[in-house]
């Protein structure tokens, strides 16, 4: 019998369960339940009791039956101790315990007698905790963004921690903020401008980058090494040092407040990375294919159109998505160049909304959802391409 590993298991698992229970309680508070105390010590004791019972019962019962009975009795006890908790809260507790006890499946006294087991156990619960931690830290702001857009300013000012959605209202009232930003604040136009700018940037960037990348990857010319190192160096220079000269020149040329001006700047700032990413891929295409094309009487133009582009579609997709993401999310230049609401992009429009302190926050968050949702959906759908684009281009940030 190894007491050290037994105690470590008990502590690690019950602390983990306590933290999970507390998180669930906090999330429930945000749905309008009025807990005033987390009862950390009580939770820890309960969890400890649960784990001890679990380990000492061992494998005498059928596993599924065991976890069901344990979870149910724990839930009943827990609900009894936390009075006035509604049904869904208890169901959540039940599911959490079910998941937790299922994780404990292989732990019995025999398993804990193995060598070096305690470090492994701590590590296991640490990773479980890390998964919960990362998921929470990342998704929480997105959740808040969405939920706030469905609330009203007054409700939020009265009770900022009650984020529950009132389903007794009809759907139009719940989604009112979205109707308002599209009608009053003209977000439909901004979506169009943003899409136009982003897609335009992608197309122009590709038009310029593909030939240039081909030249860097394949052809021999004077100054080639100089050019390929300077691509990376140029890429390191930030937008903020370009902003003042570009602002002055664009003001004098009348290119400010125009979508074309933005297109030019976005294209130029994404070109270096696009060339860098594409030339890397072009180099991996076997030269023999092109030579065959040359013998068939193709010129350089024909080779690029008929051989290089069809063969490097995955790389082109990565570059396109990456450039699209940069253009869609870009803020600095749109802030500097656009003053006229008629030419606003989405990012600039949301910034403009905050300029007026009177704007209710649900409109601001509805706007944020509108600008975030498309790029997240594109990311989820094309994740493979975008991830490879990010890895190749992530010298930029």
């Amino acid at each position: 019998m190894k007491f050290k590993s037994l105690i470590i298991t008990l502590l690690a698992s019950s602390i983990f369960l306590t933290i999970i229970l507390c998180i669930w309680k906090i999330l429930a508070t945000l749905q309008g339940l009025s807990f005033t105390n987390l009862n950390f010590n009580l939770n820890l004791l309960l969890s400890l009791g649960l784990v001890i019972t679990f380990i000492f019962i061992g494998k005498k019962f059928n596993h599924i039956l065991k976890i069901f009975i344990l979870s149910l009795s724990f839930t009943i006890l827990y609900t009894f101790l936390n009075e006035n908790s509604p049904m869904w809260f208890s169901v959540g507790i039940f599911l959490l315990i079910l998941f937790f006890t299922n994780k404990l499946k292989k732990y019995d006294l025999k398993y804990l007698n193995q060598d070096f087991i305690s470090e492994k156990i701590v590590f296991e619960f640490l990773s479980l905790f890390a998964i919960v931690f990362f998921a929470l830290v990342i998704l929480f702001p997105f959740y808040i963004m969405f939920v706030t857009s469905l609330k009203t300013q007054t409700a939020l000012l009265i009770n900022p921690i009650d984020l529950s959605i009132d389903f007794s209202k009809n759907i139009f009232e719940i989604l009112k903020s979205y109707f308002v930003i599209f009608k009053t604040y003209d977000f439909g136009r901004y979506i169009l401008t943003s899409s136009y700018v982003s897609v335009g940037t992608v197309l122009i960037t590709l038009l310029f980058a593909i030939p240039a990348a081909y030249a860097v990857a394949r052809l021999n010319f004077f100054g080639k090494t100089f050019l390929s190192t300077s691509i990376l160096i140029i890429y390191m220079f930030p937008a903020i040092v370009l902003v003042i000269p570009l602002y002055t020149v664009f003001s004098q040329l009348g290119l400010r407040n125009s979508v074309e001006g933005l297109l030019i700047v976005y294209t130029a700032t994404t070109l270096p990375v696009a060339i860098y990413m594409l030339q890397g891929y072009f180099k991996s295409i076997p030269k023999e294919i092109e030579e065959a094309g040359l013998i068939d009487g193709q010129n350089w133009f024909g080779i690029i159109i008929k051989i290089i582009i069809p063969l490097s579609l995955p790389a082109i997709a990565s570059v396109s998505l990456y450039v699209f993401m940069i253009a869609w999310n870009e803020f600095l230049f749109s802030l500097m160049f656009l003053d006229n609401p008629k030419t606003f992009t989405l990012s600039r429009a949301i910034n403009h909304l905050t300029g007026d302190a009177e704007t209710p926050r649900q409109y601001l968050m509805a706007g944020s959802v509108v600008v975030t949702l498309p790029i997240l959906l594109i990311f989820i759908y094309f994740e493979k391409y975008l991830v490879s684009g990010l890895t190749a281009g992530s010298v930029k940030g």
């Binding site: 021999n220 140029i234 937008a239 903020i240 370009l242 003042i244 130029a268 070109l271 803020f331």
Partner: protein, 419 residues
């Protein structure tokens, strides 16, 4: 034969490169050099508007007469600070319409009125009137006359193109008492932002490199903060951290963790008492650094994960045979394998965090001790409207960047040899 082929190859290469190079030169390289020029000048935001002669045309009927009209041009110099020299004016009249008693400064020839107004000082205004009459005493259509727009041009000095230079901007930048604080704030932000993002990235990559249910889903979620638009995310965090009605402060107060809400983004210092020692924590700066870490650790994660997946499995199998636990495996196998990528990552992220503008700007606007060099460029150039100063700060950024890059390429060169 071969020489001509290589000539053709060269020529093709240059043609293919030309558009991209021109664009990058015009939009990226030219501004960097233009900064040097502007930083030696005293230029404000208002100076960069070129003064223009302008005219507003108003057509008025004269009582009792259909065949006569009065045209009033409201002339002005658009600039309140600069003169315009040699202003010229041109307008057209419809057929058979002629001016009567034309001003001395003007001439009428083939239905065109040409005037030479000479010099207009700053803020010049004049109501310039012309009476016109139909030659055949027919009624004149007002809209016919209005359909022509007067054309004006003149010469003016463009402050940006003169050759008066001054060192004032740089003196102001370096002699400013806050310059040292500006540098240290930038350094703190950059260093801790980078370090935190990489540590969290290692942690996340180590996590996702294990096998568990929902692993691919987890990998997508981890990239959300980086993929989402900075505007939306920054405002969401501002709302979350708001001292009056932000969710996080309210929750902490609700559960009795803190007594009063903390203004995490608006308070410069937080004084912590540890064992009688008073520690001053840069609160707003710390919050901004945490946002930075939150937003950019996904990139570190992506890089490190790619490297982790390339570590040969048998190393870990050997460690298993030796009975090494997960922590030892990490410190003795994983960490040595990823140091190279970590150092590259650190340097790249360091440069990019050093340049970061949007995040701080949207969260605090550079207030409460979060003023970094990039924010300073914006404040000088656009909030205080001193373009010259803004450029001078830009030059400081560029010089520091070049220093970082030299260090970077020296170290990376060595690293590449080691691998």
């Amino acid at each position: 034969m071969s020489t001509t082929l290589s000539k053709i190859e060269k020529r093709t290469a240059y043609t293919l490169l030309l558009p991209a190079v021109c664009l990058v030169f015009a939009i990226i390289l030219f501004p960097i050099f233009a900064n040097v020029w502007i930083s030696f000048k005293e230029v404000g935001l208002k100076d960069i508007r070129i003064p223009e002669p302008r005219a507003k045309k108003i057509v008025k009927n004269i009582q009792d007469s259909n065949s006569e009209l009065k045209i009033i041009y409201k002339l002005r110099n658009s600039s309140l600070i600069q003169d315009i020299r040699e202003v010229r004016f041109l307008d057209k009249l419809p057929k058979n319409v002629e001016p009567v008693n034309l001003d001395k400064r003007c001439k009428f020839k083939s239905q065109k009125i040409k005037c030479f107004f000479g010099n207009w000082e700053a803020g010049y205004r004049e109501n310039f009137e012309i009476f016109v009459k139909d030659v055949n005493n027919n009624a004149i259509n007002n809209n016919d006359i209005k359909s022509y727009n007067p054309n004006l041009n003149g010469k003016s000095n463009n402050i940006l193109l003169t050759t008066d230079f001054t060192l004032k901007n740089f003196k102001k930048v370096f002699m400013n008492n806050n310059f040292f604080e500006l540098l240290t704030t930038t350094f703190y932000f950059t260093f801790f932002g980078t370090l935190g993002a990489i540590l969290l990235g290692i942690f996340a990559a180590q996590l996702v490199n294990q096998k568990f249910y929902g692993r691919t889903f987890m990998r997508s979620i981890l990239l959300f903060p980086y993929v989402g638009p900075v505007v939306a995310l920054a405002y969401t965090w501002t709302l979350l951290l708001d001292p009056n009605s932000g969710t996080i402060n309210s929750l902490l107060v609700h559960y009795g963790v803190i007594e009063k809400p903390i203004n995490l983004l608006g308070q410069k210092y937080l004084i912590i008492n540890i064992l009688g020692f008073e520690l001053k924590l840069r609160l707003a700066l710390t919050t901004v650094i945490f946002f930075e870490i939150w937003r950019y650790f996904p990139l570190a994660f992506l890089f490190i994960l790619a490297r982790l997946q390339a570590i040969p499995r048998d190393l870990y199998e050997a460690a298993d045979v030796d009975g090494a636990g997960p922590f030892r495996k990490f410190f003795y196998i994983t960490l040595p394998q990823i140091t190279a990528i970590l150092s590259i990552l650190f340097m790249i992220r360091f440069i990019w965090n050093f340049n970061k503008f949007e995040d701080i700007f949207l969260l605090t606007g550079g207030a409460s001790g979060t003023l970094t060099l990039p924010i300073s460029v914006y404040q000088q150039g656009f909030a205080i409207s001193n373009i010259g100063m803004g450029s001078a700060v830009s030059i400081v950024i560029v010089l520091l960047l070049i220093t970082f890059m030299i260090i970077y390429f020296k170290l990376i060169g060595k690293k590449v040899n080691e691998i």
